[in-house]
Symmetry: C2
Subunit: 232 residues, 2 copies
DNA sequence: GAAGTGAATTGATAATTATCAAGGCAAGAC
DNA sequence: GTCTTGCCTTGATAATTATCAATTCACTTC
């Protein structure tokens, strides 16, 4: 890895409080690599060789069973994925592919694990990261079990709206196919759910969505911080 | 806590490799308490005061939103719950209540966190436990998104059957109401799902279930180790 | 034993969601 | 420009799941 890349990685919250010797040792066998869109990164069931960190771009985590497939999450910079498999030295439970051209940092499992044992600050940072991952899935699970498809969409729009600065306009970052799968519905159903939300001030024009009546959308969505707030 | 109770706790996998001084200090302000059935232990949204460990009995984790409620998991001995909230010092995302008379170990959040910093073996054990919790939820989430209600029930029966020694008979440990909620369906639907499985050799008599044709049940269920295997 | 209680089942119906089959639209290829 | 391609949308229909109401059943209480 080049020096400027190393200092870029150094600044990530996962590594910033880490001992410098341990940090450099850990990065020795790591890669910072750029993948094209739709590149397969990992396959569920394979042993965990690397911890992955999305530096730029976007990675889709998905899973298959029978002949069905579902999107589990979209990972944006700067976030890790499949940390739990790495820490347990187990097989991946999810597959991953880039959804656009992406720059990915890959750190060998063994190096993560030995750094975890060697550096207390790092083990603290790792456990916080893992706890965040856990809580994200719990929230997603609550979302799916406690809400209808339309409610899930409404709340997701409100979330994106807040992410993007409450300007009244949202730019969808993924195609609607992925959004539908993430929300646990078919693309057809997503289209219909958007139509259902039209009377609540949701105007869809391709990837651009206008929210003209947030109040009424919130009345329908009934957002809940214990499901929708990323920071909790 | 009484000496015999302390040595009982000492043997838990979470604590067995822990330094003795750290262990004793951690348990100083802990309780080992017996609760009656249907006792409320924690409420989602409250700050995490204790890490809980189920020593005997059974605890239901559940969540609410709007006016709906769903069972997230049933925790059996010997397992922790709400570890992530404790490690993050955040609010609980789930509520908990005993589903039967239960003996619960409660360790103050602050003591868990300081022991985590003080003892490398303990921090390793904690991170393994947390990774297991994470992977359980991911599996549950895949289960819900990738399978129909009948398939979820069929796979759950196969899992219980294996847990209980593949004898051809299962004893349900919870009421069907909870089982239904856990599987993401209504009690009425669970009844109907059992009827759907009758031709596949599933005979229900109250809490006792006979599986007379496991082969055909598996053909329907299509079990998947990356969803159903607890040990992975 | 009878009565009462709550859980579980069943039936009828409604709501939700998925599937299948066309179309429509937009972006890139030529 | 036209053509292609893939994605999205729409319509029609089917499957799945939920809701409401009414029993039935098992178990406790008296």
């Amino acid at each position: 890895m080049r020096p400027d890349q190393i200092s870029e990685v150094r600044e990530l919250s996962l590594f910033e409080s880490m001992d410098d010797v341990v940090f450099r040792k850990m990065l020795k066998a790591s890669y910072l690599q750029t993948f094209p869109a739709h590149a397969e990164l990992i396959r569920e069931g394979d042993p965990a060789d690397f911890l992955y960190i999305v530096m730029e771009g976007c990675v889709e985590l998905f899973a298959r069973s029978n002949d069905r497939e579902t999107t589990m999450a979209m990972v944006h910079p700067v976030n890790t994925f499949i940390l739990a498999a790495v820490l347990k030295d187990a097989v991946y439970l999810m597959s991953a592919r880039t959804s656009e051209r992406s720059r990915i940092l890959m750190i060998p499992t063994a190096d993560i694990r030995s750094a975890f044992g060697a550096d207390r600050n790092f083990s603290q940072a790792i456990v916080t990261e893992l706890a965040n991952c856990y809580r994200s899935v719990v929230k997603e699970h609550k979302n799916l079990k406690l809400r209808t498809a339309v409610e899930r969409l409404a709340n997701r729009l409100i979330k994106y709206h807040a992410d993007q600065g409450n300007s009244g306009v949202i730019q969808l970052r993924h195609d609607k196919r992925s959004l539908a799968s993430m929300l646990g519905m078919t693309p057809e159903n997503l289209s219909r759910a958007f139509n259902t939300l039209k009377p609540y001030g949701v105007l869809v024009k391709g990837n651009r969505i206008e929210l003209t009546d947030l109040k009424s959308l919130e009345t329908l969505a009934k957002p809940n911080r214990l499901i929708d707030d990323r920071k909790i």
